[in-house]
């Protein structure tokens, strides 16, 4: 009887030890598998050369008043718009209008180092904040907007002369691209 009890206790201890080994091996194996998966996911993230993509410099002296160019920065288009005085005053007037994403025009011409920019020059990332199409400027034949800025042909988002969203599905204003003035006639984006 006593012997049988001892044997039973031994058996239980043995089972516990076995279970512990299985659980430990399983857990360590699972951790290893999880850690192995990460490099295979991370490799699809931008590579170092892509991340360090160079800045873009734009010569402003070539852009007449009322026109814009699309500069390419990190593979994406950037609007560099030379605004007319009328466009500027309209943008300033609308600072206090009913805005979906309220922002002052002054903040939208700010340089990325924090110092104020110039009202004539608006530097915006050219992708609609809805689903990324490139909106058409007011002087484009396909422009069908009402606020004198940009109109997105994909889903009808209508931006004003400060690039703020006024109508349509886009949730945000066109993003200001980070830029600084290198001198009076050239800027560096990025």
């Amino acid at each position: 009887m006593a012997e049988a009890t001892a044997g039973g206790a031994h058996e239980t201890l043995e089972t516990t030890r076995r279970d512990f080994i299985f659980i430990a091996a399983g857990a360590v194996g699972a951790v290893g598998t999880a850690a192995t998966i990460w490099p295979f996911i991370d490799q699809m993230n931008p590579a170092a050369d892509t991340r360090a993509m160079s800045t873009t410099e734009v010569n402003l002296s070539q852009i007449p008043v009322g026109q814009e160019i699309k500069a390419i920065w990190q593979g994406k288009p950037v609007f560099v718009r030379h605004r007319t005085p009328a466009e500027i005053s309209q943008a300033l007037r609308d600072d206090y209008a009913q805005l979906k994403d309220p922002q002052m025009d002054e903040d939208r011409t700010k340089q990325s180092n924090g110092s104020p920019g110039k009202a004539e020059w608006l530097i915006l990332q050219a992708n609609c904040t809805h689903l990324g199409c490139v909106p058409l400027p007011s002087f484009d034949p396909g422009y069908r907007g009402h606020y004198g800025g940009w109109f997105c042909p994909c889903h009808g988002s209508d931006y004003d002369t400060s690039g703020r969203i006024r109508q349509g599905p886009a949730p945000k204003n066109l993003y200001v691209a980070p830029y600084v003035y290198l001198n009076d006639t050239s800027i560096r984006i990025g």
């Binding site: 030890r17 076995r18 430990a24 091996a25 170092a48 360090a52 160079s54």
Partner: protein, 283 residues
Amino acid sequence: MLRRIAIAAAVAAVALGGSAYAANEGRPPKDVHFSFQSPLGSYDMAAVQRGFQVYAQVCSTCHSMEHLSYRNLGEPGGPFAEYSVRNHQTGEMENRVGLPAGEHGEYVDVVNNPYVRAIAAGFQVPDIDQTTGEVTQRPARPSDHFRNPFANEYAARAANNGALPPDLSVITLARAGGAAYVFSILTGYTGEMRGTQYVNDYFPGRLISMPPPLASDGLVTYSDGTTATRDQMARDVAQYLQWAADPHMEARKTMGVQVIIFLLVLSALLYLAYKAVWRGQSH
């Protein structure tokens, strides 16, 4: 049949007798020790920095390193990588090149690295003027590839008596002796010449078209004050080229240690599990 083979073998032996294969190879590289050679060894970053200086001032006039960009110098594991480290005297965080042993620091993105920016700006690289469409020169940015000294292979050959200076991006991997080979070549000139070529016992064929690049002591003035003897410069540039060929070596070895320790633990556990499963089963 066997007899025929034997005869054929004898005939072939006569034909092949005394092949001069061995004379074609250079001497085995000098027995030089580098800190990165041991399984856990790392780079001597001060030497890599000095080596870059030698490359930039001497080698780069003829040799390209087309797979490297200036940013690589400031990326993690690079010789000019910046870290934000706490200054224990003032208690302030400050940026410094390299991580002091045993310190923790936040890696500073290479885009904000002033050293790399300055190094890059010291080189002129070709670009297209977007208003005229003409080829112009501008100071390099960190994202640019290392400046290629020649426009193309023909220009390189024309400037070097018909010889093509090889690209140095992976030179220590592309030569059997690795960094020791580079060191041996740089210090292996006998001083003799044959025509336009130089005698160098460590070079295959023993005649090399490259003039002795480290011809005299003090060719480079090291910014860290190290005396630039020829030996020192050769060692430093060899170390730099090894880093250039294998920039992730330190991360690789660190991860390797972790992986192997992990696998040893896993193997031990699996062995116990295996034994536990088979317990009581004769096999």
